[in-house]
Symmetry: C2
């Protein structure tokens, strides 16, 4: 199977899983539940689920555990997008070419739908249906909470909001991105390894792969933003420059950023060498994810 088909298949499986896991949008709180479903089932590349599933499959991990964990990760990712789009944050009207949750519903509903998805991710992971071993479920909960919370993704979002107040050196921007997008991408790979009880050195190689790819992905996103192709992005472009925000492109310049994306891509693939042809899809994912972007 090639990478494109596998990504499409993964996206389908995760969407079907989320559809089954999320409460039906009925009863007095239908508006909240509809907003959660609108955001969680409305598409997206499902890259984090792909990383969890493919890392776990390298070591023949249980598919149900991988899929439910992937669904929990996607709940967290979706929550972060809903809150990021709110007027007090990035104030975006479009996401994946569709109205953002607060535009389609209202601000209070968007706020609460994000909150509910955040809590729901942990409900999924703590459920014995995710994995029979409670020790494993605790590790997944602890890992996801750390990757999400005040020393993970949310810290990255807070740094991003500092805008021009943030140090504009490469180290600060790299750290911000490692938190904002890197923490969850790294955990998506780590979760697959945890479920598979993968050897430590294999896990470290895969986490390094995720770190490099995550950083390259963010740089590519900053390049897209700078080039301002709103249509291609399915959301508003050149937001960073207009908001006076620093990012990889404002600090490095377009050419150096592009060179760095290429370097990180090569490095990411290098970490997979030890897995041989079994890691073919993860290797192909690097070019696929970054393809039209550098």
């Amino acid at each position: 199977m090639d990478i494109e088909s596998r990504l499409a298949e993964t996206a389908d499986r995760v969407t079907v899983a989320l559809d089954a896991l999320l409460p039906r949008a009925v009863g007095p709180e239908a508006r909240l539940l509809s907003a959660m479903r609108y955001a969680a089932l409305g598409g997206g590349k499902r890259l984090r689920p792909f990383f969890t599933l493919e890392s776990g499959r390298l070591f023949d991990a249980d598919e149900t555990a991988l899929l439910r964990t992937a669904a929990a990760l996607e709940c967290i990712h979706t929550f972060s997008l809903i809150h990021d789009d709110l007027p007090c944050m990035d104030d975006d009207d479009l996401r994946r070419g569709q109205p953002t949750v607060h535009k389609e519903f209202d601000e209070a509903t968007a706020l609460l739908a994000g909150d509910a998805l955040l809590a729901f991710a942990f409900e999924i992971l703590a459920d014995p249906a995710t994995h029979p071993d409670p020790q494993m479920r605790c590790k997944l909960v602890a890992g996801l909470a750390r990757a999400t919370g005040p020393q993970g993704m949310i810290a990255g979002q807070a740094l991003d909001m500092l805008g021009s107040e943030m140090s504009s050196d490469l180290i600060a921007i790299t750290r911000m991105n490692r938190l904002k997008t890197g923490a969850l991408i790294s955990f998506s790979v780590e979760a697959g390894c945890l479920i598979a009880c993968a050897p430590e050195d294999a896990k470290h190689a895969l986490v390094r792969y995720a770190n490099d790819l995550g950083l390259a992905f963010q740089m590519a996103d900053d390049l897209l933003d700078a080039e301002g192709r709103a249509e291609e992005m399915g959301k508003a472009a050149q937001k960073d420059a207009r908001a006076g925000k620093v990012n990889f492109v404002t600090v490095l310049g377009e050419e150096a950023a592009r060179a760095r994306v290429r370097l990180l891509a090569t490095q990411a693939k290098g970490h997979l060498a030890q897995f041989g042809p079994r890691a073919k899809l993860l290797t192909q994912a690097v070019d696929f994810v970054l393809d039209r972007r550098y």
Copy 2:
């Protein structure tokens, strides 16, 4: 020890525990971390921690497990207050007589501080320091997630936001309050019982106690709001009436609401009968919590 001293002691212990658990407010994300600490350490009655500690103590449960679980519950409660106060929700400037988080910091920081406290609660619970048995930690995570998420407190907040669109009958308002405040209060008692491995019938009696007290507490709060004593509440009063929201007082009238608070208080104490004098503090808590309110 009398109820007043015990509540004060519990509040101190929980504040000390949270102070130790929450990340220091240093580094580039100091603003986010300061906002979390401002909200979580800035007082409050710490009723939920009191319920967890006292329920667990009825069966001599481990104090560390109770205290860490109480701290996690308080993180969730604090998150809900921060988000409830935001402009797109209740739009409150004061909480416990102090500026709300978005007033003291800014909206984006308040949003993210709430998010971070929500995630952090699960980080605390999943940590082996909370309880040596991973099965127990999973039960606590699952229970807290359910009490918080799309079928718990957050659903109640969503119903509350419907305002005049919500059915204005007593059943609908009772359900809204059972979700909005009842779910977390009930779980605070249930968590103490879980950690103590309390017998099922004892747990059920204590959860019924919490349900009745939670409902009475909310009715008393609606009465306070109707009487409009902003000073006493440390926050804006008569918000519901002005916002066209239905609550127990708008549906039942003041007199009937007051009678119902008294009935629920008696009923709550009745559930404790089987525990004899050991439940003295939980019994006293009913009058103390509702004292100046009916």
